[in-house]
Symmetry: C2
Subunit: 342 residues, 2 copies
């Protein structure tokens, strides 16, 4: 990416505050909260506002956590609050279905992102095709991307672009990356695809903003950020900070800083129980490369089996446990437990 004085390089800011932030609010945001934040983000010129249950379309359930509002209620509320920003939805096949996507488009979604585990891109093919037929913007992202090599990620992203994704990229779901890791992966992906490249960071190692800057320098042009970092555990890349830093570095986001700070203040004061910080458990989770959503079950299993949660996080990281494998947490805790009488 080269800068010229007349046309600064453009970065598209994608704002999942009302979806990823939902994790930190146990999916309990109400219509007034969604409306207040969406209107403020819209006024600041945020290009894309994503909304939904933390795990995406169709994920509201007893097991994962029921959202206060239905997908339909969330989409209608945010649609009404936006005048310029596009509305986006997120879906992981399995939690959501083709019906959920069709319904979201009928409710006014302009963009739909399909997510898959970093080595399972093939589960996105069907839905990417359906989205293109419906005429909405189709994006695709790889979750827990630190578990795959740069070459694997590039290959999976190229497949998704081939199936119609108009932007592809990676999520640092465990908050495990340092900037050099991001540079390597985004460079490989950017060299392999002809569509915009997405980076979505988490702050477990205090590197979310630095990682996002590294991503842009390596060729990413779609950067995710949540107001005040609103998100599970250590939180996401802090939206207003990454926008200010990118603008200072000479990139153009099209977002007004003062209005964005106002939106962040609304998120802080009206949406979040408390702003995210890097506590000891989030730090260890990021170091170990464990999915952020495992924090609670890991702490529970450690307590039950009387093992150190730090040891349990590292053991889970070594086993390469991913979301959906919650049963391995209890089993791993049991293995760590000192044997009686030995």
């Amino acid at each position: 990416m080269t800068h010229t004085p007349t046309a600064p390089a453009r970065v598209l800011i994608y704002d999942p505050t009302l979806r990823d932030g939902h994790h930190a609010a146990r999916h309990q945001l109400d219509a007034a909260q969604l409306r207040a934040y969406a209107a403020a983000a819209d006024a600041a010129g945020v290009p894309v506002v994503e909304v939904g249950h933390g795990n995406g379309l169709g994920a509201s359930s007893l097991q994962i956590g029921r959202a206060r509002l239905s997908d339909d209620e969330m989409l209608s509320t945010v649609r009404d609050a936006l005048t310029h920003s596009k509305m986006a939805v997120f879906m992981v096949p399995g939690w959501g279905t083709s019906d959920d996507l069709r319904n979201a488009v009928a409710r006014g979604a302009d963009v739909a992102r399909i997510g898959a585990h970093c080595t399972e891109a093939d589960i996105t093919e069907r839905h990417l095709g359906e989205l293109r037929e419906m005429g909405v913007e189709a994006q695709a992202v790889l979750l827990m991307s630190h578990m795959a090599s740069p070459a694997q990620l590039a290959e999976q992203c190229a497949l998704m672009a081939g199936w119609g994704a108009q932007a592809v990229g990676i999520m640092d779901s465990a908050g495990h990356y340092l900037p050099a890791d991001v540079t390597e992966r985004i460079s490989a992906i950017a060299a392999a695809v002809g569509v915009p490249v997405i980076f979505h960071g988490h702050n477990n190692l205090g590197m979310a903003v630095a990682n996002s800057v590294a991503a842009v320098a390596a060729g990413a042009t779609v950067i995710d950020g949540c107001a005040r970092g609103f998100g599970a555990g250590a939180g996401n890349t802090q939206l207003e900070v990454v926008v200010a830093v990118l603008e200072r570095l000479g990139y153009a986001t099209g977002i007004g800083l003062k209005a964005l700070l106002h939106a962040a203040d609304i998120a802080h004061e009206k949406l979040m129980p408390a702003p995210p910080i890097i506590d000891s458990v989030s730090l260890v989770s990021g170091l170990a490369g464990v999915f952020s959503g495992f924090k609670k079950p890991v702490l529970q299993a450690a307590e039950r089996e009387q093992v150190d949660p730090v040891d349990l996080f590292f053991a889970l990281g070594q086993r390469g446990v991913v979301a959906g494998q919650e049963d391995l947490i209890a089993e791993t805790a049991l293995r760590l437990k000192p044997q009686a009488g030995v």
Copy 2:
């Protein structure tokens, strides 16, 4: 700095939690709090623990804020709690005097750091000489260092090393740096002096950890960090995070991570009113390059004159206002105020 498999590069971690953190507790930490944290940091193998009023020795006053404990009480308490860690004090000439330094050494300080505005190194000469005569380790740091060029900082650091400082470096007092800024400055300083180079970061732009890593890569070997980031505004470099990241990158700190997390948990639960976050004002303050301690008077002046605090921060940054020039805040606010009848 080169890495070899047999001898990883060593980074000395310097912990000002009980001094810089004091800013965020209005200098009100009590003896039990100092003791609890100092003992935990000592147990984790933190090499140096700094203690004192937020502004250093002799600074407790009505104008700046009175500390709960006297310098003597703080030093005696921490001295008793440490078994291996060195005890350090900080002093800015003017707030503190030679008598304060002599007294701190008599109370067991092993290290004393003298601070000066980034272009005023000459005020450190006398005290550095006195410290060397007393036989304690003498360090010197430049405050608000973003206001000077790399060449100026290198020149000022070389002067301080020449006057006896056994480690010299820079504080990013306004939290204004991005990693490339740090690389440039630390490289210039490291090339100009023959003593260890210090970097002390703040997190206003979410870059404290990334800046510290950049500093080490550029030749710094003394890195400051506060437990859970405890410090004014957006907080300092988060100690446990920077230690974990440096160790992952192959540097040796000699600190045990589990015990350090325990110390950070104590700081979080027992010392801080709330852990630091990057709020809108801290972000703007860092962008504008304004001293973090100005947050409160800037907000008050903006309120009084009915001007936008964001505009006031940027105007103060443009005027290059530094600590001690509080009267310029009101004057600048007045200038920004729309004239009646115009």
